[in-house]
C-alpha cells in the first residue's frame, strides 16, 4: 500500500448507510464489510482525488483529539479495503 497514491472506490459495491455506519457488499463476493464511523468517513474520501496521506491529514485536523491513533486507524482501514478488493490505489 502506497499512501502517496490516491485510493479509489471500486464500482459495483452496494452501500447501505445506517446512521454513522456503512455496510458494503459486492454481489459477486460473499463477504460484507462493516464500517464504523471512522471507516465510513475514509470510504467517502476514497474518491480518487486525494492521496492516502492527504486523507490522514484531513481527518487529523478534524479529529485532533485522536491524533495519536488516527494515522494507524486510517492505514488499517485502507489496508482492509484493499484486502477486500473494495479500493485500488492510483498513482498521484
Amino acid at each position: 500500500m502506497n499512501l502517496s497514491h490516491k485510493p479509489q472506490r471500486k464500482k459495483d459495491f452496494r452501500l447501505e448507510q445506517i446512521d454513522d455506519e456503512l455496510l458494503l457488499y459486492h454481489p459477486g463476493q460473499t463477504n460484507i464489510l462493516y464500517c464504523n464511523q471512522t471507516a465510513s468517513l475514509v470510504w467517502q474520501l476514497c474518491d480518487g482525488q486525494q492521496t492516502g496521506e492527504a486523507i490522514i491529514k484531513l481527518l487529523s485536523e478534524a479529529y485532533s483529539e485522536h491524533n495519536d491513533t488516527l494515522k494507524s486507524d486510517v492505514e488499517a482501514v485502507l489496508q482492509q479495503f484493499l484486502d477486500n478488493n473494495a479500493i485500488e490505489f492510483r498513482p498521484a
Binding site: R14, L23, C35
Partner: protein, 317 residues
C-alpha cells in the same frame, strides 16, 4: 398412495405415503404447514414405514434316501437349497425424487432426517422474503427472533423461554415476507440434541413426555406443548432480535448492537440471499434500522431473566 404438501416461505415439497402410520409421522412433523395441492413442489418424497417385517414362510423338502441323490455309494447327496433369509430390509425408508435417501431401523432418526431434508429443500428455493436461520418466540404480541448458526445455543434458550411461558414459534427458520415486519415461523417439534438435553434435564422432566415425543441417542423431537401446555402459534410483528451464545465457561455479556453491527450479523444468518434482489442486502439493512438487536453470551438462564423481561414489557407497551 396418498399425497401431502408442505408449504413454507414461497416454496413447497410433496410427500407421498401409503398408510396411516406414515400420515401420523407427517402430521407430527409438519402439521402447521400442510396445505392443499401446490403447483410446482420443489421435491417429491415417498415415505415408507414397515411396522414389522413379514416372517419367512419357506418350506422344508424331505429328501429320501434315494440312489438318485448323490449317485455312488459314499457320495453325499446334494445339499437342499438354502432357505431365503428372513427379510432384513430396514423398516424406515425415505425416497426423494425416486432415489432412496434414507434407510434405517430408527424412527426418530428417520424423522430428524426428513425434517432436515425438507427444511433444506424449502430454504434452497425460498423467495418472496427474507429467510433466516433463527429461532423465534412471542409474548404479549411481541415477536422475538434468535438468529444464529447451529450450535450457538438457540434451541437451548428457546426451550427454556418456552418453559417460562413464552410461545414457541420455531427453532430453525424464520421467514419475513417482503413489505412485512411479521414473523412467519417454520413451526416444527423442538429438535433437542444431547447438549441441550443435558442442560434441560436440570429443570425439566423430559422422561415424563416420552410418549409424546420421538427420541433416539442423537435427538429428541419434542412437541412445544410439553414445555408449555398453553403454547399458541402466531405470526407476530418482529420487535426484538437477540443473537444468543451459550458458553458455560464465559462471562455473561448483554450488549446492544449498533444498527450496522446488527445488519452484519443478520446477513450472516440469511439463508436465501441468492434468490433475492441484491441478495436481500437492502431489506436486511431496513430491518436493522427499526428493530433493536442485542448480543447475548450466557452461562445460566437466570442471567437471561435479569434482562429480558423488562425489554419485553417495554416493547409490548
Amino acid at each position: 398412495m396418498k399425497r401431502a404438501y408442505v408449504t413454507f416461505a414461497g416454496s413447497s415439497v410433496a410427500l407421498d405415503y401409503p398408510n396411516k402410520v406414515e400420515a401420523d409421522l407427517i402430521n407430527f412433523l409438519f402439521q402447521p404447514h400442510l396445505t392443499a395441492e401446490t403447483a410446482s413442489p420443489q421435491a417429491h418424497y415417498r415415505l415408507q414405514i414397515d411396522p414389522k417385517p413379514a416372517p419367512y414362510r419357506g418350506c422344508v423338502q424331505n429328501f429320501k434316501n434315494s440312489d438318485k441323490l448323490g449317485g455312488m455309494r459314499g457320495e453325499l447327496p446334494p445339499a437342499p437349497p438354502s432357505p431365503p433369509k428372513i427379510s432384513d430390509r430396514p423398516p424406515y425408508r425415505l425416497f426423494r425424487n425416486d432415489k432412496l435417501t434414507y434407510s434405517g431401523q430408527d424412527k426418530a432418526a428417520l424423522a430428524e432426517y426428513l425434517l432436515g431434508d425438507v427444511c433444506y429443500q424449502l430454504a434452497y428455493h425460498s423467495r418472496g422474503g427474507l429467510l433466516f436461520h433463527a429461532a423465534a418466540l412471542s409474548q404479549q404480541g411481541v415477536g422475538l427472533m434468535l438468529p444464529g448458526i447451529s450450535g450457538a445455543g438457540k434451541s437451548t434458550l428457546t426451550s427454556w423461554l418456552l418453559s417460562q411461558g413464552f410461545n414457541y414459534l420455531t427453532d430453525e427458520l424464520v421467514f419475513i415476507p417482503h413489505k412485512s415486519q411479521n414473523i412467519h415461523p417454520f413451526t416444527r417439534p423442538l429438535n433437542l440434541k444431547p447438549p441441550t438435553k443435558t442442560v434441560l434435564t436440570q429443570f425439566f422432566n423430559l422422561e415424563a413426555h416420552q410418549n409424546d415425543s420421538l427420541s433416539s441417542q442423537q435427538v429428541i423431537l419434542l412437541p412445544p406443548t410439553c414445555l408449555n401446555p398453553n403454547n399458541r402459534l402466531s405470526q407476530p410483528p418482529l420487535k426484538l432480535i437477540i443473537f444468543p451464545h451459550y458458553n458455560p465457561t464465559s462471562n455473561f455479556v448483554w450488549r446492544q448492537l449498533t444498527k450496522g453491527q446488527a445488519g452484519l450479523a443478520l446477513m450472516e444468518c440469511l439463508v436465501n440471499a441468492r434468490n433475492l434482489p441484491e441478495h436481500g442486502f437492502p431489506a436486511v439493512a431496513d430491518i436493522c434500522r427499526h428493530i433493536p438487536a442485542y448480543h447475548l453470551t450466557y452461562t445460566h438462564f437466570e442471567q437471561v431473566a435479569t434482562q429480558l423481561p423488562a425489554i419485553m414489557t417495554e416493547l409490548s407497551a
